[in-house]
């Protein structure tokens, strides 16, 4: 077996495992959201379909699959079908550069990261930028004035907050000296919780900017004016039904999970444990592989829970307040953060 063949086969296995796990997580994140928002609103979420409602995603998936796929006559067909594909593809793509666990290698191939690129962070930003097309084209092709307005507003919001998102990551890059995600995590794995970027790396302001910009990027939580049911009759996915609507839905939750993964990598030390060097390094290779993965999953779960918590408790921003906040407050604040980070790390 030549090394190339092993590399290709292992990559296919990694991609398959990550995609399946991500889609299962998306399905159960929907359930988690419904239950948590339900408890915040003093009621139970779905609780009948299985024990504690755990089979609800199966029922939802079956329903969306079997619904009638209505395509209005006056939509522009090629783009109408292409837009949810773009949205879902971009949502599932950024997970390819995320390192889930420690650098365990099998014959020189990294087992816990699909693609180890030198510019991993820029790939995530680039895929987020291309994801805007899914929404813009869906609104335009629906041939419906509410969809078009919702899509234009949503695209303008995403493009504006992309700027604050990108700028808030520069402080992290200054500390790590590299755009490679493994390097960024390795810098934070030295002294446990104190060397995480959010505490020891003095990036707490950048963390909050990133969090707010990510909420706006994924059209969620207090920035979901463009897709809320009570505004604009549903925004850019008004005319979509069954599988295409499911694709937009899945794209939104997959984006949430990706944002959570990136936030843990950049600000919370990725797969490193908060105890750092206080605990001895385990001897068995199984524990050394699984324990970092466990910490990573716990942190991503915390972020997803934070997303849902903010959604259940905050009111919506009005559109002009939203744009003013992004341009007039977040962008200058993130530039100030870059200056402060440069001053802190310049003596090195």
């Amino acid at each position: 077996m030549s090394p190339l063949l092993i590399y290709v086969l292992l990559s296919i296995v990694k991609v398959a495992v990550v995609t399946v796990v991500l889609l299962m997580c998306v399905a159960y994140t929907v359930l988690l959201e419904r239950k948590v928002v339900g408890r915040i609103q003093n009621r139970f979420g779905p609780s009948r379909v299985g024990p504690f409602g755990l089979m609800q995603p199966m029922a939802d998936g079956l329903k969306l699959f079997l619904k009638e796929d209505i395509m209005p006559l006056s939509v522009y067909r090629p783009l109408y079908i292409l837009a949810p594909v773009i949205a879902l593809a971009c949502a599932l793509l950024s997970i390819a550069v995320v390192p889930f666990g420690a650098n365990i290698q099998y014959r020189g191939i990294d087992l816990f990261q699909i693609a180890d690129l030198n510019i991993g962070l820029l790939v995530i930003l680039g895929v987020t930028s291309v994801g805007v097309y899914g929404i813009a084209l869906s609104g335009w092709s629906s041939n419906n004035k509410y969809s078009l307005l919702g899509a234009l507003r949503s695209s303008a919001q995403m493009v504006s907050y992309e700027l604050a998102l990108g700028l808030s990551l520069v402080g992290v890059v200054i500390r790590a000296g590299s755009l490679r995600l493994r390097d960024i995590v390795d810098i934070q794995a030295t002294h446990g919780i104190l060397s995480w970027n959010v505490f020891g790396g003095f990036q707490i302001v950048a963390f909050f900017i990133y969090l707010i910009a990510a909420y706006a990027e994924t059209n969620r939580a207090p920035f979901d004016l463009v897709e809320a049911e009570s505004e604009l009759t549903g925004g850019y996915h008004t005319e979509y039904s069954s599988m295409k609507f499911a694709m937009f839905f899945m794209a939104e939750y997959a984006n949430m999970i990706t944002v959570g993964c990136v936030a843990t990598l950049l600000f919370f030390g990725g797969w490193s444990s908060p105890f750092g060097h206080l605990l001895p390094e385990p001897h068995s290779i199984f524990l050394r592989a699984v324990l970092p993965l466990f910490w990573f999953v716990i942190k991503v779960f915390f972020f997803v829970f934070l997303y849902i918590w903010v959604r259940g408790t905050t009111p919506r921003f009005r559109y002009d307040q939203l744009m003013g906040f992004g341009w007039k407050f977040l962008v200058p604040l993130s530039i100030a953060n870059i200056i402060v980070a440069a001053l802190i790390y310049a003596p090195r």
């Binding site: 190339l4 030198n118 680039g126 930028s129 609104g139 234009l152």
Partner: protein, 169 residues
């Protein structure tokens, strides 16, 4: 790596670039032209990766595919640009344009293929990858003045765009 893999990737993405550019030329509705151009820009990013320019590939996707073309798409959607009509001017352009462009293409291709041997091949691996730190080292030390002037240029462009697109009260 396997025999001829770089050549295969170059031909696939080069063919995608040319197909996208021809599609941009031949489509009547501007939104189709815009989408074809996005395909061209993303394929060019892959070609930059083949030439060892990793930061430029990422910048091409982020700046061109993800910002400039979004701007074009917005304007096409806002102005509700419809399909093009054939007018008198376009017929004259067909008669003059195509031979001129063919002459230009023929001349350039002849020149490039005649220096094919001295130019050599695109090497990969080793020291031919230009990392972001190499790029930034030259950009922020030797070429700092053009960098600062570019930021003034962007400021002027922002002011110009806001002033031009503002609605008269």
């Amino acid at each position: 790596m396997a025999f001829g893999m770089y050549l295969v990737i170059f031909f696939i993405f080069g063919a995608l670039c040319i197909a996208g550019a021809l599609n941009m030329l031949l489509q009547r509705h501007p939104i189709n032209s815009a989408l074809s151009l996005i395909v061209v820009m993303t394929s060019l990013a892959v070609l930059y990766l083949l030439l060892g320019a990793e930061f430029l590939a990422a910048a091409q996707v982020i700046v061109y595919s993800g910002a400039v073309m979004v701007l074009f798409t917005f304007v096409i959607m806002l102005l509700n640009a419809g399909e093009e009509e054939r007018t008198r001017g376009s017929r004259a352009a067909y008669i003059v344009g195509f031979p001129g462009v063919a002459a230009l293409l023929g001349l350039l291709t002849y020149i490039f293929l005649s220096v094919r041997m001295p130019l050599g091949n695109a090497q990969l691996g080793g020291g031919t990858l230009v990392t972001t730190s190499d790029l930034s080292r030259v950009l922020f030390r030797d070429l700092l003045l053009p960098f600062e002037v570019t930021s003034v240029l962007i400021l002027v462009a922002i002011l110009g765009a806001v002033a031009l697109a503002r609605k008269e009260p």
